[in-house]
Symmetry: C2
Subunit: 207 residues, 2 copies
Amino acid sequence: MTTHHFSTKDRILSAAEALFARQGFAATSLRQVTSRADVNIAAVNYHFGSKENLVNEVFRRRMDQMSEERLAALKVACCERPGELEPVLAAFVEPALAMAQDRHGGADFVRVIARAYAESNDGLRKFLSDRYGHVLREFAKAITGCVEGLGKEDLYWRLDFLAGALVYAMSDFGLIKRPSGTSESSHRQRAAAALIRFASAGFKATN
Amino acid sequence: MTTHHFSTKDRILSAAEALFARQGFAATSLRQVTSRADVNIAAVNYHFGSKENLVNEVFRRRMDQMSEERLAALKVACCERPGELEPVLAAFVEPALAMAQDRHGGADFVRVIARAYAESNDGLRKFLSDRYGHVLREFAKAITGCVEGLGKEDLYWRLDFLAGALVYAMSDFGLIKRPSGTSESSHRQRAAAALIRFASAGFKATN
DNA sequence: GTTAGCCTCAAACAAGCGTTTGATTCAGCC
DNA sequence: GGCTGAATCAAACGCTTGTTTGAGGCTAAC
């Protein structure tokens, strides 16, 4: 008889996600993970084979869903408000926001994404680019349709700026400290709105 | 008789910088550092006291200079073209660009900065905030003077966006791959110009 | 009741970690 | 020459790391 609601695998994934978010991959030991998950140390290698594979599974569990949400939101934006830039940017930013507000560890996952970019975990970056690159290409196409005279090189630079700003803002890596009065949810809501305004103006800047 | 041109301390710092840039702090062992620096393992604790202190010193060696350059450039910008935003942003962005182009490991250091954001070592963040927070405060003041009606909260959000985008772009973390035809120097030059335009428009966006 | 297969467990493994030790080298100074 | 203090060294310290082992519990099928 166990009092846990989730399977051993899921508890390991969630514990790993939270610790990776807080400390990074290399700095997080499997013993920390299994202790937090209330699971025997050997369970990780039994269920996932290795630590590296655990890292990959932590990604798969959420990233597929977020990419689908982004593409779906993009489709809606293009249909309902064609030619407008802000809905497109919102389609990119808001699924990350929604994930960050998910009560089941989504906030941690957003930070894990930031770490994945920062750690050139060689295989991991290639994995992300291979598996989710097409999403960015879709958004690039949509943005091109919203901004007249935006060259390809500027477009890609600005997408990089957007991605960088999004990752750092959503991860609380920057200067901004959430005031103790406001909830984490509305804090992120504001960040997303501010970023969409900021990036929208940025994408429309002329050269 | 030694064939080295630099002191033990400097060789340790440079080796650590390169390895931290490539692998992150936690994933880099002191044995890797001392092996690359061609130095005995005990030298790190002799000269720096601990690994954590070595990390701090890697920062101090370059960050002091970059901060001074930023403040000097800001002063010039405010004197020569008062009220204009782009020179202020250039004063923030271009010293980072110059550092990234420095031939003696500056490019590595820019990536180390990105890792410092990502790994979020608490001791390191406090060190950075204590030592270099006043620089950001100076820029915040200058930007406020250039953009009418920009509230404090939006100002700080946008500074975060700028910092995130800068770090991201300078570290080659994003989509943009340098075309084989162009030099790394002119590649970064373009990134800086594009970022200044992007951020300038973003800071001026109304709410 | 027995068997089979999945799962969990305490314990141990070799390897690597950051740090410390004590001896040794070497330059500069009285 | 003798002394001093900084710098370097090989070796070892105690500890944590990811991973493996083999015994045993449990459920379900026969």
